[in-house]
């Protein structure tokens, strides 16, 4: 049972000032079209961009009523459509997602691909605007929706703890911002301001459009050329992402809330970003330390000490943060922190078995190979390279992981420092 060669090969061209990347493949039954508008993550724009994503999907010039717009999407065989914001390091990405079935699986003959591109073009170039403003009705409703979305962050305690430790750890850095924005910015936002922001970012920000499916490259290029005529100015490139930030002292933050299980989150600085030569070694470090069920955190916090159901670490590759997360009984707080510190120290001292190293390389390799079965993940992998300013091909990444040595891991381990230990706990017991 052989392994196929690994590769994700988008064909790239510039059309109407948009970087278009097309990947023809017969293995999916749908066509996926993802557009990414890139901006720096910044106080002045974080809330307008987040609100813009919500207002954009309410209406276009062709479908000024939301109900009609959604009926049209249903008519296109339940086209999946969304506009959302994501955080990649200190970037806020406005993402327009569209996915339609490939016509060849349908009994009726409907030109779904053109319709999908037309719809994306509507979003970007033919919005629903009156007197230089998005419609106040939609803006007001979506301000309310955004307020509720931000307030509901607290519902998911894992996400909440993750945002809170990020805020504490990155105070004063743009990365501390919640990608959905700030409640305090909402009252001052109106349809006119939002439309000016829309015009500015669609004219100046780097825009990438990805198309994955059983498509003809030239056909796709022609459709984008005629249906997405963006009025582009000179591109304003956001500054290079910086991940270096030495830690002066470890901070401890305890917060109380109505919870049963305590959430322990520890934010660490790695000083290594996606574009650095040491990034593959950082991936291996994280895999041995806390990325998998064979990792030190899982084995020692969960399996041996029986303290937690989950104990993991995750990388934020564009910010150089390694985040440790666990859910524990608050009485075991010190015990859990000590075990985690011991495991970090073990990593520093290079006490890593041959098995841990080979398991981690095998599972990481598997993860990267699996990307090829998902249009969304292939797009994300490629876009990570574009945003960071260093594109690695998939087989290059696999080779780099395979080549990581103990010395490489030791070098990475030397750079990693705990920054903030955060505990979300119940309201009982001593303060």
């Amino acid at each position: 049972m052989s392994v196929q060669p690994a590769g994700i090969s988008f064909q790239s061209t510039a059309i109407n000032g948009i970087d278009v990347h097309i990947l023809p493949t017969a293995k999916f039954k749908t066509t996926t079209i993802v557009t990414m508008v890139e901006q720096p993550l910044a106080e002045e724009t974080v809330t307008p961009t987040s609100l813009l994503a919500m207002v954009m999907k309410r209406a276009t010039a062709r479908f000024p009523e939301t109900k009609k717009l959604r009926e049209h999407l249903d008519f296109l065989y339940g086209a999946i459509f969304d506009v959302d914001v994501l955080k990649k390091g200190e970037r806020q990405i406005l993402q327009i997602y569209m996915e339609v079935p490939n016509e060849k699986y349908l009994s009726k003959d409907t030109p779904l691909f053109e319709e999908a591109i037309r719809f994306v073009g509507d979003m970007l170039t033919r919005p629903c605007v009156e007197n230089g403003s998005f419609l106040p009705k939609y803006v007001d409703q979506e301000k309310e929706s955004l307020r509720k979305r931000i307030e509901s962050l607290i519902d998911d305690k894992m996400k909440y703890a993750n945002q809170r430790v990020t805020e504490e750890m990155c105070k004063g850095e743009p990365y501390s911002l919640l990608v959905y924005g700030r409640l305090a910015d909402l009252p001052a936002l109106d349809g006119g301001r939002l439309y000016r922001h829309f015009q500015k970012i669609t004219a100046e920000s780097p825009i990438h459009m990805f198309v994955v499916g059983d498509v003809d490259v030239q056909h796709v290029q022609e459709a984008i050329s005629s249906l997405v005529p963006l009025p582009r100015r000179e591109r304003v490139q956001p500054p290079v992402l910086d991940v270096v930030k030495p830690v002066e002292q470890v901070r401890q933050v305890i917060e109380r809330l109505d919870v049963t299980q305590a959430k322990l989150n520890i934010g660490c600085r790695t000083q290594i970003g996606y574009r650095d030569d040491d990034y593959p070694a950082l991936l291996v470090y994280n895999g041995i330390f806390g990325g998998f069920p064979h990792s030190k955190l899982f084995v020692n916090v969960r399996e041996k000490a029986s303290l937690a159901y989950y104990a993991v670490s995750r990388l934020e590759s564009h910010k150089g943060i390694l985040m440790i997360m666990s859910g524990i009984d608050v009485r075991n707080y010190e015990k859990a922190v000590n075990i985690i510190k011991e495991q970090m120290e073990a990593m520093r001292q290079g006490s890593i078995s041959e098995e841990e190293l080979s398991q981690t390389k095998a599972t990481l390799t598997n993860q990267f190979r699996e990307l090829q079965d998902s249009a969304r993940m292939m797009i994300d992998f490629t876009y990570n390279g574009l945003v960071s300013g260093r594109q690695r091909k998939l087989d290059e990444m696999l080779t780099a992981i395979e080549a990581v040595t103990r010395e490489d891991i030791a070098r990475v381990a030397e750079k990693i420092q705990m920054d903030t230990i955060y505990l979300l706990r119940d309201r009982k017991g001593e303060a």
Binding site: A26, S152, T260, E303, S306, N366
Partner: protein, 434 residues
């Protein structure tokens, strides 16, 4: 090995029943990098009252199916998760109301991973010490769910809808109920429900079906199994009416959460009839509650629902219910508005255009889901357990008439079958930093 081709969706299924009774299905996917295998037993959290192989009737502690799933990973001389890691696979398992599934995905070493999956699930090893140790881990899993408002509002609704039927019981049990679990109980459950004849193995992805079938056959023929026990499960009689009309709980949330449920009065459907009810009701929910419906528009514009508003329908032979809702600033106003509007929709009937759109939408979504080997793997098994074929969804959808949806609407949305579950913050317990 029998092969069936589903031309419309361009999928092929290979099937064989092995000598020990195990049903094996293979779904080869051209061009994919990974392979995904799921080994499932027809045994879940609701199967807690049954006859053992020695003929006695027992009632086991709540949460034991899930506990057993956890304990399958531990062996005398090795750790299963570490073995999978060695071969680059990622492995997992889950327990639902009526099944327990063990799975992995890999892009290499399929033969080793597949043997490992079959071997570890067919080789129980429980000790008193390891059972005790697991209680701490699962205890934390349970408290994690206790803090999850979405889970809480959902489980509370099931408890409001059902008076007796055990889907009202938490899948993982409670800290108290799992404290009674012993290795003897685990072996009894294992011996009753893990015979190959009660299980299904499905492999989806990139492989040669003949090779894989040979490997599975070899593995199974190398093991001895007792004759398949006749499984006898006991379920309480469930009255048609909900247990409670309304239930409310307190957890730290930004906005209150509300779920509304309708419980099926008539059950007992099997095979195609069950599939048709499932799809017809899902079409109905799309038409009435989907984000292009008049009801959704009205509720959203009045601020009573948010983008979290969602709906779903589950049906099995013995039970069925729809659930919908989400975050709302005013649960009571939302329940009142929904009740009123549903009555209006019932009287107005189903608009032919909305019906056509909903059908198209469902077909498109189904095609999209077939891109995912995970979706195929998990859904396929559930469909098979109910006597259906996942790849029959499109033709069955196409066969549904508007009148059938209207009929379903009248049957399903009956106010006396409705219950409401609410979760909100306790007064004066809003978030605070210290």
């Amino acid at each position: 090995m029998r092969m069936t081709t589903f031309a419309q969706v361009n999928e092929t299924v290979c099937h064989e029943v092995l000598r020990n009774g195990l049903n094996v299905y293979l779904v080869p996917k051209q061009g994919f990098s990974k392979t995904y295998a799921v080994f499932t037993t027809r045994y879940g959290s609701i199967d807690s009252h049954f006859r053992t192989n020695s003929g006695e009737t027992i009632r086991v502690p709540d949460g034991i199916a899930h506990f057993l799933e956890h304990k399958m990973f531990e062996k005398k001389d090795r750790d299963v998760m570490h073995e999978f890691s060695k071969y680059g696979a990622s492995c997992n398992a889950f327990t639902s109301f009526n099944r327990t599934a063990y799975l992995f995905s890999c892009t290499d070493n399929l033969d080793k991973n597949l043997n490992l999956l079959l071997d570890y699930v067919q080789e129980p090893y429980f000790t008193d010490a390891s059972v005790e140790k697991e209680k701490g881990i699962i205890g934390q899993e349970i408290t994690m769910y206790d803090d999850n408002p979405d889970w809480k509002v959902y489980m509370n609704l099931l408890q409001a809808l059902y008076q007796e039927y055990p889907i009202r019981i938490e899948i993982a049990g409670t800290v108290e109920s799992i404290s009674h679990i012993t290795k003897e109980y685990l072996y009894q459950c294992y011996e009753t429900f893990y015979h190959p004849a009660n299980m299904l193995l499905l492999v989806v992805g990139s492989f040669d079906p003949a090779d894989v079938m040979n490997l599975i056959r070899r593995n199974q023929e190398g093991k001895a199994f007792p004759p398949a026990p006749k499984i006898e499960r006991f379920f309480p009689e469930e009255p048609p009416a909900p247990a409670q009309k309304r239930v409310e709980a307190h957890l730290a949330v930004g906005l209150p959460k509300v779920l509304i449920g309708f419980k099926e009065r008539e059950n007992g459907l099997k095979g195609k009839d069950l599939l048709k009810r499932d799809l017809t009701t899902k079409l109905l929910l799309d038409i009435v509650l989907g984000n292009s419906s008049a009801l959704y528009e009205k509720l959203y514009e009045s601020g009573l629902i948010t983008e979290t508003f969602d709906y779903d329908y589950s049906c099995e032979t013995d039970y069925g219910y729809s659930i919908f809702g989400g975050d709302t600033p005013d649960p009571d106003a939302l329940v009142e508005a929904v009740t009123r509007e549903l009555e209006a929709v019932r009287n107005a009937g189903i608009d032919p255009e909305a019906f056509e759109r909903a059908k198209r939408k469902k077909i498109g979504q189904f095609l999209r889901a077939l891109n995912s080997v995970e979706f195929i793997a998990n859904q396929f098994t559930q469909y098979k357990f109910n006597g259906n074929d996942l790849f029959d969804v499109v033709p069955v959808l196409e066969s549904i008439a508007r009148e059938e949806v209207e009929q379903r609407m009248k049957e399903h949305f009956q106010l006396e079958q409705m219950a409401v579950s609410i979760v909100r913050s306790a007064a004066g317990q809003e978030s605070g930093k210290s």
